[in-house]
């Protein structure tokens, strides 16, 4: 019988070789199970058999695994509404080299133990919200409308004197390029942190072994930095000190970091009198390790001079409790053209360099602060990509630490994640080959579900600039007409960031008019930001007693309040969805908090949700800077803020748009789940009830019920208290 079967088996084998194998494999494929997807769970929230309270109302944070030394518990007697800045009233100037005998120890601003998204100072959690009139406060600049050596004190005072006051500024230390108000090299000298040597014979040069010294009309570099930070201090500002600014200035070749420029020398070997010309052979090695170029040894020698910057800065500022350090400004951004093309460094390589620099900061803090510094300052970094952001937290990118004894008071990880602009979208040639995309602005970072769960502050510390025109300035549309340099796009970005879980917003802007006079726009943007800081950080959104603590607020799922439709969404609409009638897109974010009975914390008194909603679009590129809709023909300002679409009249009739022309602004209806609610419509411009609406309207929904906004111009805050 076996013998008789051979022809059949042979035929089957031949057939299989000729194409049957996929057939046989397919029989298994046909039986693949259908994978259930998570949205099936979401739709079940409306199931009446399920608990009405979503146990995940406030999005949970990942477990904090950083240094306990950088966490601060609320002080004894802390109560809601206490202002951390009240302690700042006692701030006086410091000189870390000449501290008074009663100085004690420095305890810099750190993270709130109850919720490390938030900052904490003096045992009181806080937000940091400010405005920086650019960051060259320690530089001699021609730009009177930017913070500079001539105006820094008045710039910082403007933050303090705004009502309500702001509490944060940002200051830069070392630019990668030479910079001055003219190309004249001599005028660039004060703006670099190294000594400028003018020998009797031969050309002048920067000596990278020595700090910048005083010259005609200016003080030594780090003496100026000290004065600037002290001015911020006496004006009650926290200061984010950015150590490296690799791509700023006029010309890399005219700066102190370029080998080709030939303007930098250093002792070789160190400590000897033998000076050799030095520098990075490519600007891009400023922000990543040279692991393989023929000039790797030369480029890695330059780390010693980057460490000099860190050492000199920390030596100057270690004793300041109102300071934290940012490693670098936009290290992932494109640098100078090489071979005709501007490139950008692999974000993971940049993250590794930043982690290495954090190690150097910690070493310097231990060296200069010693026992007088209770713990290390907070350290921030600013990625421009999701890859770079995640790499900053990846243990695989921990620095090399030769000779270092781990010290939990001086941790080597990152605390504060900064973003620039709302969204980033720029394709770049990668230094070394290939391409990559800068894909993460501040809003991208805070909306990233992985990053948003990290127990770290997420901040914005640069965006489009108020008071200037062009691609770098702000732009919005008022009744269809472009307005440049105005404040409302920044209000939208700041509110959205902070109601998405961000805890710091530092508006990067030129807040002084070109003639140096502080103009109305400069005051208006600070007032707007001050109101946000006050309403959220100090007034807890005016929620009723028992008012949640600041650290109780967290990004909220709205499914506990709003009717969930079959798709898992709500009638708040899809984030970013187009609105034809108003030529805008719909953006919203939600912050929630649970109020508990102080004498019985297990008892929930109410839950509150704050829904911030604005109607804007991404910024179109400069050549499409108009009322383009939708999508700017796919040509965006790569590093842009929002283009707010403000309407105080009805938009023009457009027959292709549902509801056109509609009201003179925005008016929407939302569906609430059963429950008793206190409804308030807040105007973000004033943080007061929207004109014509009651401060609180109580409604009881036995089934689903609807609420309708007042007609609003482009943004609104809905405050719901559900008891």
């Amino acid at each position: 019988m076996h013998r008789r079967l051979w022809p059949v088996v042979t035929l089957l084998l031949v057939g299989a070789l000729a194409g049957f194998v996929p057939v046989l494999a397919q029989e298994e494929e046909e039986e693949l199970p259908v994978v259930e997807s998570p949205w099936d769970e979401v739709t079940s929230y409306d199931d009446p058999s399920l608990p009405k309270e979503d146990p995940l109302f406030e999005e949970p944070l990942d477990k904090y695994e950083g240094s306990e030394a950088l966490l601060e518990k609320e002080k004894d007697g802390y109560s809601v509404g206490m202002d951390a800045m009240s302690a700042a009233a006692a701030w006086t100037e410091l000189n870390c080299s000449q501290l008074p005998p009663d100085f004690g120890v420095a305890e810099p601003i750190r993270l709130a133990a109850a919720n490390p998204r938030y900052f904490s100072y003096g045992g009181i959690p806080l937000l940091l919200v400010g405005a920086s009139a650019d960051c060259g406060c320690a530089f001699r600049l021609k730009e009177a409308f930017q913070c500079n050596l001539n105006n820094y004190a008045s710039t910082f005072a403007l933050n303090k004197n705004t009502v309500p006051s702001l509490n944060k500024v940002r200051v830069w230390v070392s630019m990668g390029y030479g910079y001055a108000n003219t190309p004249t090299l001599q005028l660039q000298v004060p703006n670099a942190p190294f000594e400028w040597v003018t020998p009797l014979a031969g050309s002048s040069y920067w000596l990278l072994d020595n700090q910048g010294v005083a010259g005609t009309g200016y003080e030594a570099f780090f003496a100026r930095l000290l004065k600037v930070v002290n001015a911020a201090r006496v004006n009650r500002q926290f200061v984010e000190v950015t150590l490296f600014i690799p791509w700023q200035g006029n010309d890399f070749l005219k700066g102190p970091w370029s080998k080709t420029g030939g303007l930098a020398k250093a002792a070789e070997p160190p400590g000897t009198a033998n000076l050799v010309t030095t520098g990075f052979t490519s600007a891009y090695y400023q922000v990543h390790k040279d692991t393989g170029s023929p000039n790797a040894a030369q480029n890695e020698k330059m780390r010693a001079y980057q460490i000099n910057i860190i050492n000199w800065t920390v030596k100057t500022l270690w004793c300041f409790d109102n300071v934290f350090f940012e490693v670098s400004n936009e290290p992932e951004a494109p640098g100078p053209k090489e071979g005709g093309v501007a490139k950008a460094v692999n974000p993971v390589a940049v993250a590794k360099w930043q982690r290495q620099m954090i190690f150097e900061i910690r070493k310097a803090e231990k060296t200069w602060g010693g026992s007088k510094l209770s713990y290390g300052h907070l350290i921030s970094a600013q990625p421009f990509s999701q890859a770079g952001a995640l790499a900053l937290f990846d243990p695989a990118n921990a620095p090399a630490t030769p000779g270092w004894t781990p010290d939990p008071k001086f941790p080597l990880d990152l605390q504060v994640l900064n973003g620039h602009y709302t969204t980033a979208r720029l394709d770049a040639s990668t230094f070394g080959g290939g391409t990559h995309r800068l894909d993460a602005g501040a809003i991208d970072l805070v909306r990233d579900p992985t990053l948003n769960k990290k127990p770290n502050p997420i901040a914005s510390n640069e965006d489009n600039i108020t008071n200037i025109q062009g691609a770098r300035g702000t732009k919005h549309h008022l009744n269809g007409v472009a307005v440049r340099g105005g404040v409302v796009p920044i209000r939208a970005a700041a509110w959205e960031l902070l109601t998405s879980g961000g805890t710091s917003y530092d508006h990067f802007g030129y807040l002084l008019a070109p003639n140096g006079i502080i103009n109305a726009t400069a005051r208006a943007i600070r007032t707007q930001l001050g109101l946000l800081l006050d309403f959220y950080g100090r007034r807890s959104f005016d929620l009723p007693s028992p008012t949640p603590r600041l650290t109780d607020f967290a990004p909220a799922r709205v499914s506990d309040f709003f009717k969930v439709d079959a798709s898992g969404g709500t009638d708040l609409g899809r984030y970013g969805s187009d609105e034809c009638r108003t030529k805008s897109q719909n953006y919203w974010s939600a912050l929630g908090a649970t109020a508990r009975n102080p004498s019985n914390p297990s008892q929930i008194v109410y839950r509150a949700v704050l829904v911030y909603r604005h109607h804007s679009t991404p910024r179109c590129s400069a050549d499409r800077d108009n009322l383009d809709y939708p999508g700017c023909s796919n040509s965006f300002n790569p590093l842009g803020s929002y283009d707010a679409r403000v309407w105080t009249v009805s938009p023009p009739v457009d027959a292709s748009c549902a509801g056109s022309p509609g009201p003179a602004g925005y008016r929407e209806t939302f569906t609430l789940k059963p429950g008793t609610y206190e409804v308030s419509w807040i105007d973000p411009e004033t943080t007061l009830p929207y004109t014509g609406t009651p401060a609180i309207q109580t409604i009881t929904c036995s089934t689903f019920c609807t609420i309708t906004t007042p007609v609003y111009k482009f943004d609104i805050l809905l405050r719901l208290v559900k008891r």
Binding site: Q26, L426, D427, T435
Partner: protein, 363 residues
């Protein structure tokens, strides 16, 4: 009884052998042939632009001989909250086209040099034509025949078609030496079967990349336009796909610059005895280790999801969560990221269950 069973097996074997011989899934190709075709299609696609947010422009070879290409322009709207799958929707407008190249035309006129000629013509009956398109419905395809194309957004010798039904909007032709200098007229191999053509056409209607529906990322201001080239792999029933993200980048005060990047995929198909597509898989190939390497991702962070979905066609232009649930899905964030999903199986039998596609694959 046993004899009957043997007879049945014998007949089955003979039947299958006959089917196999009749079904032409092509012959194996050498890596050099595949590389040649990849380079050729990449040169071609570089010249093309469909400038719309989220647009997709597919190209593939149309015949065993050289100089014949087909394509599909897709104005694709893949929308929804990337974290809420129940909100996902696919809505699109399609325009298939032929691109026919000839070595030399107009050979009678003694005053004109004999130049290669290109004809771009839409197949309107299989596409969506709109006299007054709304929003994303307008399709506008251009292919630049200039000798060098540093920036296809600024064409100097464009072929141009649209999906406007007006006369002349659906075809264009012109001569261009670049067709020869870019070696777009030759055939890297002759293995382009009827089955291949159906697979290419099918892939162009089922494979959809989306930046905006990449979970844990989103797409910022909006998705980039994409070009896709489809070609054979080395083995029969294997197909390669390169997805090219392209755009202008206008950074600070510098002039805008053009940049494109590639992400590479490999599809394995499975067929049944009738030649119907039944199953298979899709995998993202690896990241390039050096400049100029083929069959790899040239971009560090592709940042998109790739869906293989039930096909859309004119008359069937919208899908929702049920179709996404049936789809194969890759998620490609950045090199080395643990959240990448770089391989998935494809249940073609399910994806094509309501179509005539499977019935049409047997020549």
């Amino acid at each position: 009884m046993i004899q009957n069973r043997q007879l049945l097996l014998l007949l089955l074997g003979l039947f299958c052998a006959r089917l196999t011989s009749a079904q032409d899934f092509g012959r194996p190709l050498t890596q050099e042939q595949v590389d040649c075709e990849e380079r050729q299609l990449m040169r071609l696609q570089h010249r093309a632009v469909f400038q719309q947010k989220g647009s997709q422009l597919f190209f593939w070879r149309a015949s065993p001989t050289g100089g014949a290409y087909r394509g599909l322009a897709v104005a694709a709207q893949l929308t929804g909250d990337n974290l809420t799958r129940g909100t996902w929707e696919r809505d699109e407008v399609q325009l298939p086209f032929d691109l026919i190249l000839r070595q030399e035309d107009d050979f009678l006129d003694p005053r004109r040099p004999r130049l290669p000629q290109a004809t771009l013509v839409r197949r309107g009956a299989a596409g969506n034509l709109f006299a007054n398109p709304r929003d994303f419905q307008a399709i506008d395809v251009q292919i630049d025949l200039a000798p060098v194309v540093p920036n296809p957004f600024e064409p100097r010798m464009p072929l141009h078609i649209t999906n406007n039904p007006a006369a002349g909007a659906g075809q264009a032709d012109r001569a261009g030496r670049s067709l020869a200098t870019d070696d777009l007229l030759s055939a890297c191999h002759a293995e382009v079967t009827e089955f291949d053509l159906k697979v290419f056409s099918l892939m162009a209607r089922t494979v959809r990349p989306s930046e905006c529906l990449l979970e844990n990322h989103g797409c910022g201001p909006g998705p980039s336009p994409l070009r896709v080239v489809l070609f054979r792999g080395t083995e029969p029933l294997t197909y390669r796909m390169n997805l090219v993200d392209y755009g202008l980048n206008c950074y600070q005060d510098d002039p805008c610059y053009y940049l494109e990047s590639t992400t590479a995929f490999l599809f394995h198909l499975q067929v049944n005895a009738r030649g119907d597509l039944t199953g298979g898989d899709v995998q993202a190939l690896g990241w390039c280790a050096q400049e100029g390497q083929l069959g790899c991702h040239s971009v560090l962070n592709p940042d998109f999801a790739l869906f293989v979905m039930p096909p859309l066609r004119p008359g069937l232009d919208k899908q929702g969560p049920p179709e996404f649930r049936r789809s194969a899905e890759l998620q490609i964030y950045f090199e080395g990221f643990e959240g990448n999903i770089l391989h998935d199986t494809i249940n073609w039998a399910d994806l094509l269950r309501d179509t005539a596609w499977n019935g049409g694959l047997v020549p």
